[in-house]
Amino acid sequence: MSVLQNVTIKYKLILIIMLTCVTGLVLAGIAFIGWEQSVLRNSMVQNLSTQAEMIAENCKAALTFQDAEDAKETLRALRVESSIVFGAVYTNDNKLFATYYRNYADIRVHPSELQESGFSFGDGLLAVFKPIVLDGEVIGTVCLRSDMSPMYSMLKRNIGVIIAVLFLSSAVALLISSRLQKVISKPILSLAGVTKAVSEEKDYSARAIKHSNDEVGSLIDGFNEMLEQIQQRDVELVDAKEKLEVRVEERTAELTTANEQLTQEIAIREKAEENLRKTEEKYRIQFEGALDAIVVTDAETGVIIDCNPAVTKLVGREREELIGQHQRILHPPEKIKGGFSKTYKEHLKNKQGQTLETQIITKKGEIKDVAVKASLLEVGGKKVMQGIFRDITIRKKAELRQAQLLEQLENANNELKDFAYVVSHDLKAPLRGIKTLADWIITDYADKIDEDGKKQLGLLVNRVDRMHNLIDGILQYSRVGRIREEQVEVNLNELVTEVIDMISLSENVTIKVENELPTITCEQTRIMQVFQNLLSNAVKYMDKPQGLIKLGCSEEKGFWKFRIVDNGPGIEEKFFGKIFQMFQTLSPRDEFESTGVGLTVVKKIVEMYGGKIWVESKFGEGSRFFFTLPKQETGVTNEKLKAGFIS
């Protein structure tokens, strides 16, 4: 079998075809012979039977009439048939009646047993039995025996023919098959050839030629496609290889640099470790030496891991006493909730890094106020809370005092408010009375009072007025800062225009707004008061025939700088500060009726907003009043303003 397997396809095909053909033919031949034989046999039998029949028929009379001779005579006719070796007529009790022998009286050709009818083969002879029937009655049997010689000779002949035909057919089949096998083998062989060429020469561009559209054709297609893919992959492979080489180079370069970097990093790392050690040392020193108490606890359990000497100072417990204890030992019961101090929980939750206030309790039971700031750290894989405590008892006390003071102050303020009201009303009332009465006296007793008297009464009235103004001034001053207004956006341009309108200007005085004023967030009345006081001052004290008052503003870093410049009398330097003092006037009141409160109020207002006010002037050459207002995005947050203190 293996031998066959290694034979070339061509021979395989031929072999197959031949084998098939030959087998077919042989089988056909055999079948044919077999059939022929059978037919022959049958015909022989038939033949013999017929002859026996004839004999029987012809021997009827002889047998009936016991004429053996006649029977014999009849039998003798069998000589014609060369194959018949024996013929006999038996009576109906199976006694030989007449016989015929081809070759001498050979007992051997007698049938071994008699049948009534039918045939049998035996001893190389065919025996046919036929009953002799006369009028429906069997009177005897005819037996004929013939040898198989015709059959054998037929057989021989047939076999000979068959063999001849076989050879002939085989030869033809060989011829045809060796031609036709090419149909199969040629494409396969060519494919094999191509394959071999491809594998030997590694030439993937080769392609097999498709000859037919059958399985071989599709095989060739597949093969070609495969080659295509291989070729492509080859190309890709070459490409990739190239790329790979490039990448390898790059990688190598990278690795080299990485290696260098690594060496560097290691050096750095070592340095860093050294630094770390130093830092740790530093930390340790700081930890130990810190004034604030530092407590390190296990973040999960809340057990104290470490603490510095400052803790001992704070709570009066030694380090050994604290380590291993739960952090709540530091706090009084009211500051503990759920087994942990409240601030601890808060810190842990979401307030890390924020300063919270709580209380600690010393060993002796003394409660101290503390500010604590805690953060979550990871030390050696473990989460710890580091809390820094600062004793804020003093601060707390101060805060308390402050609150107290605040309260006092507020009360004072309220008192003052009421006081101001009272002052305003109750002080003014008698003044009013005095004035009115003076007025009536003047009116009613005009004829009874002399010039001096009238003058004196005039002075009386004047002094009453002054008193009135002073009271108003005080009231005004006190109102500033006390009465809180809503902070609104004020367009200073509009405000200044209004103020200018309100001031009664004489014809010789002009107020000029030099540039665009900003819009600021402030209390409207207050700022109005500022501009009003300053402008009215400038107007009031104007001594020049052409009074020019200029108002401007400049933007500085973080504040507005307003200026009111006049060409009035000017102010001596030594009075620069004085003019802002309460009730201070530079000229006697008889000359310029003034409360002396105006600038004081302005100063108070400006400073309340966190600004500054000053004056630049040369005596006789006018004055320049400057004040600044800080720029605020969201209004004034000045602490003083907030507190509403009266400075």
């Binding site: 012809n58 009379a61 009439f65 004429d67 006369l134 009028d135 429906g136």
Partner: protein, 209 residues
């Protein structure tokens, strides 16, 4: 019927007596001969074809007539029930012509009946006793397709169709094909072949004499 039964018993007794009588023994040899001949008669019928009109009615049995002194005796016993050509066989015995003539005067109808019966036979065995009347007897059945058989010398020449010939220990026969032809009988070749003697002599009208 009492008479018939009585007759039968008497006949049986007589026959039995005859059988065991020495004469009967002496006839054993001849009885064999006649057994054979009886069988032959049956066989003849097998190999002879009567014309259509004689065997038209298949239900009618084949009649074997024996005229004269019956030599067969009981020879027909073994074979009388055997069918021939699918039909039964009947053996009829007739008196000889002499006696027939004698009785002519007495009962004509009976005589005619007899003659008709004789003519109806398919095979008529004319016994030796009728030797002198062969021609007449043959004439009688002429044109009636009767197969005439005898075992007397000169039968064939007398116009008989088959005649037994004694040859040593074998029974042979001869056939007159002419007379057979005349009687419109077809004798199969097989039978003819077996005949020891074939004669072709026509029956002449001389028999009428």
């Amino acid at each position: 019927m009492r008479i018939r039964a009585y007759n039968l018993i008497v006949l049986a007794l007589v026959l039995f007596m005859a059988a065991i009588s020495p004469k009967a023994r002496a006839n054993s040899a001849t009885s064999i001969e006649y057994q054979v001949k009886a069988a032959f008669l049956y066989n003849f019928i097998r190999f002879v074809d009567w014309p259509e009109e004689k065997v038209a009615d298949s239900n009618e049995p084949i009649i074997i007539g024996i005229i004269g002194k019956d030599p067969f005796g009981r020879s027909f016993e073994p074979i009388k029930d055997k069918p021939i050509k699918g039909g039964k066989v009947v053996i009829k015995r007739f008196k000889g012509l002499k006696e027939l003539e004698k009785s002519r005067g007495k009962n004509e109808s009976e005589q005619h009946q007899q003659i008709d019966a004789i003519r109806k036979c398919h095979l008529l065995f004319i016994c030796r006793s009728e030797k002198t009347k062969f021609r007449e007897t043959i004439n009688l059945v002429k044109d009636h397709s009767v197969l005439t058989v005898a075992d007397t010398k000169g039968f064939l020449e007398s116009g008989g169709i088959i005649n037994f010939i004694r040859e040593e220990r074998k029974v042979r026969f001869g056939i007159n094909i002419a007379t057979a032809k005349q009687a419109k009988l077809k004798i199969r070749s097989q039978l003819l072949r077996l005949a020891q003697r074939i004669v072709e002599e026509e029956q002449s009208d001389e028999a009428k004499k």
